[in-house]
């Protein structure tokens, strides 16, 4: 590390800052240079495309000819024609169905994952024969690609030879009925991600001090009391961060719906599915971008609420 090599003779005293940049300033410069590739990549794949999406959300634009966009303000969001026809996605009942279904999906799947994940983590955290087997088994649903698990479950839900569709329900086409399909999808997501939740909770459990439990045993606190009074409060920070990340994942869900229900039904089952249909299938760059902006705002608002309400600390 060359910090200050006096190349010029010190004839006139230069600005004091320039003469001796100091190791701190030099290291700060190095740090920025090291960060540059990452920052450029983020601007390229996140910053600029996001700016374009926001830009197109206020334009009437077609996906194949984005150059011919015309500014229309907020009409992609809300617009009523002179004949009283409601345009703009906020007046589209399908969007609101998608929002409702996404919220149902998020609330129930995250809740069930947390409860099941907690049960599995508590079981695996206690000593018993076969514990290492179960810890290994836990990783398997998580390692399976989402599309694969969607196909696996679509097969089990199949009404003519599926184990669940034919075997348990006697030939009911679960996925064909929108009011039931959402619960079938929740089951898939819960199966796939419970083990992830369990892993995170397990890591939290293992960082809890063991002697505290010995003391509680001595004092005669029941396991039940110990769980509610000690384990849960101490796990709170780890649990909250896991909840934030799982909720955000669930809100932007796409693959499960798209693979199991097809593009059209997915558009009324997930916000992302609706956005993609507008954007890609209908080629409506303006409307699709407006929907994307709405989803972005919803998700960022939820992040802010979580972080401020629960004082989640990152870092």
């Amino acid at each position: 590390m060359t910090i200050n090599a006096p190349a010029k003779p010190p004839a006139a005293p230069p600005a004091s800052r320039k003469r001796s940049p100091g190791i701190e300033a030099s290291r700060a410069r190095t740090a920025i240079i090291l960060l540059l590739p990452t920052l450029i990549a983020i601007v390229l794949v996140a910053g600029f495309p996001l700016y374009r999406t926001i830009f197109f959300s206020a334009q009437e634009a077609n996906l194949t000819t984005p150059g011919q966009a015309t500014f229309i303000g907020l009409e992609n969001f809300w617009f009523t024609t002179a004949e009283g026809i409601g345009l703009g996605f906020l007046q589209d009942p399908q969007w609101w169905t998608a929002v409702r279904n996404t919220l149902i999906f998020t609330v129930f799947s995250v809740f069930l994952e947390t409860v099941f994940g907690m049960i599995i983590a508590l079981v695996v955290n206690s000593a018993f024969a076969g514990r290492s087997f179960l810890r290994t088994a836990m990783l398997i649903p998580w390692a399976i690609p989402t599309v694969v698990s969607a196909q696996m479950w679509a097969y089990m839900y199949n009404d003519s030879f599926g184990l669940i569709g034919q075997g348990l329900l006697g030939g009911q086409a679960l996925l064909a009925d929108p009011s039931k399909a959402i619960w079938a999808l929740i089951a898939v997501d819960v199966w796939k991600t419970t083990s992830f939740m369990a892993l995170l909770i397990l890591a939290g459990l293992q960082s809890l001090p063991g002697d505290m439990y010995e003391a509680a045993d001595m004092d005669g606190a029941s396991k039940w009391t110990q769980f509610w009074r000690m384990t849960l409060p101490l796990l709170r920070p780890a649990l909250l961060v896991a909840l934030v990340f799982r909720s955000l994942d669930a809100l932007r869900v796409f693959d499960i719906m798209y693979v199991m229900l097809g593009a059209n039904v997915a558009a009324s089952t997930s916000m992302t599915g609706y956005a993609r249909q507008q954007l890609i299938d209908n080629q409506l760059l303006g409307t699709g971008s407006a929907v994307s902006v709405a989803i972005f705002i919803i998700i960022m608002a939820i992040v802010v609420v979580y972080v401020t309400a629960f004082r989640v600390k990152f870092d």
Partner: protein, 283 residues
């Protein structure tokens, strides 16, 4: 343990219930995958059999030969590998630079940069889909694995930076100070001193990022039309008609795509858990 002496009945009841719970959990976690494996070895005609006869039905590897000779599946494997490996390699290189800077250097605006990176990792991919699509088509990268690879950086980069930063922080500072005193430049320090120490972290982070890239569906579906990646191929696998889903081959393809991931996950089990918790619990 004293329950065993004071009330053996209750003790054994508790044990039995506990093991029952263990069995229920194990079946819940493993059964759907086991059923898919079984199906992948059954003939199409046997799929209609009731479960017990289905289990006992003759085994065949036809589904696997059909899938592995299917040109679009093989292309899918190739493109998935190119895209995922490329995205992971770029992310690890950029990510380790950034992690070194964020974990070891003090400078103004560091907190801000960390929050930006965190914000990108909670980004809904749909928010950039339209913008990215117009950029990709403008640069002629539609249906090109490079375009897809670059788009994957949106989730692989924040993840690698975040996890590697927490690993870099845990490396004792003396190592780097010794290198500094010997006159090594920051890049030399990174490559010669920190990289060897960070090897396990790089492997873990790379593996987790690889799994995410391998599984990605939305971008792969949108930015590629003929050069599809395997998740898209599996999702689109269809038979003669819309109502004739070839479940045997679909399951076989699913198993082919999943087995390498499961093998990697089982081999690196310990690292994975630490990588996941560093990435997810800390943020």
């Amino acid at each position: 343990m004293n329950l065993k002496r004071t009330n053996p009945g209750l003790f054994y009841l508790q044990r039995t219930l506990f093991y029952l719970l263990v069995i229920v959990i194990a079946v819940y976690l493993l059964f759907p995958f086991a059923w898919a494996v079984l199906t992948s070895f059954r003939r199409a005609a046997d799929l209609f059999l009731p479960p017990l006869q289905f289990i006992a039905a003759p085994t065949t590897i036809d589904n696997y030969t059909q899938v592995l000779t299917n040109p679009s599946f093989r292309r899918g494997l190739l493109f998935s590998t190119i895209v995922a490996v490329g995205a992971v390699a770029v992310s690890l290189l950029f990510g380790s630079f950034a992690a070194y800077a964020l974990g070891r250097f003090r400078f103004k605006g560091k907190q801000f940069i960390m929050y930006i990176i965190l914000a990108v990792s909670v980004f809904p991919q749909i928010a950039v889909l339209g913008g990215l699509f117009t950029l990709i088509t403008r640069f002629g990268l539609f249906d090109n694995p490079i375009g897809l690879m670059v788009s994957y950086l949106i989730f692989t980069i924040p993840f690698t930076v975040w996890v590697l930063t927490s690993f870099v922080r845990d490396i004792p500072g003396e190592l780097e100070e010794a290198a500094l005193v010997d006159g090594a430049s920051p890049l030399q320090t990174l490559f010669r001193v920190l990289f060897p120490v960070m090897m396990p972290a790089l492997v873990t982070t790379g593996l987790l990022a690889f799994i995410n890239a391998w599984n990605e569906y939305l971008f792969a579906l949108t930015f590629m039309s003929t050069n599809r990646t395997v998740p898209v191929v599996i999702a689109n696998y269809s038979g003669a008609s819309q109502f004739d889903q070839p479940w045997g081959p679909i399951m076989a393809a699913s198993i082919v795509v999943t087995i390498p991931l499961i093998a990697l996950v089982l081999i690196f089990q310990r690292n994975i858990v630490s990588g996941l918790t560093a990435g997810a619990v800390k943020g």
